[in-house]
Amino acid sequence: MAKRAAPEVNAGSMADIAFLLLIFFLVTTTIETDSGINRKLPPMEESDEEVVIKQRNIFTVLLNGKDQLLVEDELMELENLREAAVKFLDNGGDGSCDYCKGEGDKSSSDNPDKAIISLKNERETTYKTYIAVQNELVAAYNELRNIRAQELYGKPFAEMQANYKDVNWPGNKEKLKAKIDQIKVDYPQKLSEVQ
């Protein structure tokens, strides 16, 4: 008897079915954005004690309704903000900060612990610009922390934080946490927003 070839199954409609499923998923799902700038709001109750902060320790950033940037009473472009913030934070005016690389200008901030960035915006400021400014200020802190981490532990700060969050990282997490905290003490993020 002659061998008969098995009849071919018609799979033409399989593509249609797959397309149907595909289009269903395209319509009902989204690619979620799940990253952003984390911030902590100040609590509502104001402490009564008046905190005196020297004017030279405050870095004022003002955003007006036309999205113009006024930094320390001078107009500034957004590109220069990060550099100016780094210069201010890393100034080390009173000499108590032995790791600062700034100029030690007496009229600028005393040390990174005392330096405060104050951000004020108007109601008409667009959100896009506000986020851009926030981003630059956070970048300034991150830049300094990266440099500090590099010279203390030979690793950038961002990598240390990523390692700390990574479940599969083989090293000692408690030691790493201590190192991260040390850098956060050296360059604390003091960013206040005026209402």
Binding site: M14, A15, A18, F19, I37, T125, Y127, I131, A139
Partner: protein
């Protein structure tokens, strides 16, 4: 004589489409893995701004989402000013407190301090609205916030 049939010439053979389903399934699986089901139907434009100093939001179940932006084309009757959207419907600023309370009630008690509020705000919205939202969040002591942004460069910088 007819044992050797002459092959017909000139007739085009059918194109084999057997691999088409495979390709489509590949696409399907990619979309199934890379996306999540839509939680809320957005009634607003939600064009998030860009930033590059972002941190990832992990623990999705501990995030409360507040959307804001101007009503999208289908909802023009609500005006052109930026509005807040909570859970599928437009809301007023003073409804935020109730929303946070409801979200907190739906979570386990020990997780409440870890709740984060993600602000998904359109880049063209102005800060007055955000300031109001932030003030409202401070009132109900929901202090951890996240400005959700897309990962990218800020304003024309490379």
């Amino acid at each position: 004589m007819s044992k050797f049939k002459k092959k017909k010439s000139g007739d085009m053979p059918a194109v084999n489409t057997a691999s088409l389903p495979d390709i489509v399934f590949m696409l399907l699986f990619f979309f199934m893995v890379a996306t999540v089901m839509r939680q809320n139907t957005l009634m607003i434009d939600n064009n998030l701004p860009f930033a590059d100093q972002v941190e990832k939001l992990d623990k999705k179940d501990l995030v409360m989402y507040i959307y804001a932006g101007k009503p999208s084309d289908n909802f023009k009757q609500y005006g052109t000013e930026a509005k807040i959207q909570l859970n599928d419907k437009f809301a007023d600023v003073n409804e935020i407190a109730a929303f946070i309370a409801a979200e907190r009630a739906s979570k386990r008690e020990e997780l409440i301090p870890f709740l984060t509020t993600a602000l998904k705000v359109d880049s063209d919205a102005n800060m007055g609205l955000i300031g109001d939202i932030k003030q409202e969040l401070r009132k109900v002591n929901a202090l951890k916030i996240n400005y959700t942004t897309k990962k990218g460069t800020v304003l024309g910088r490379d």
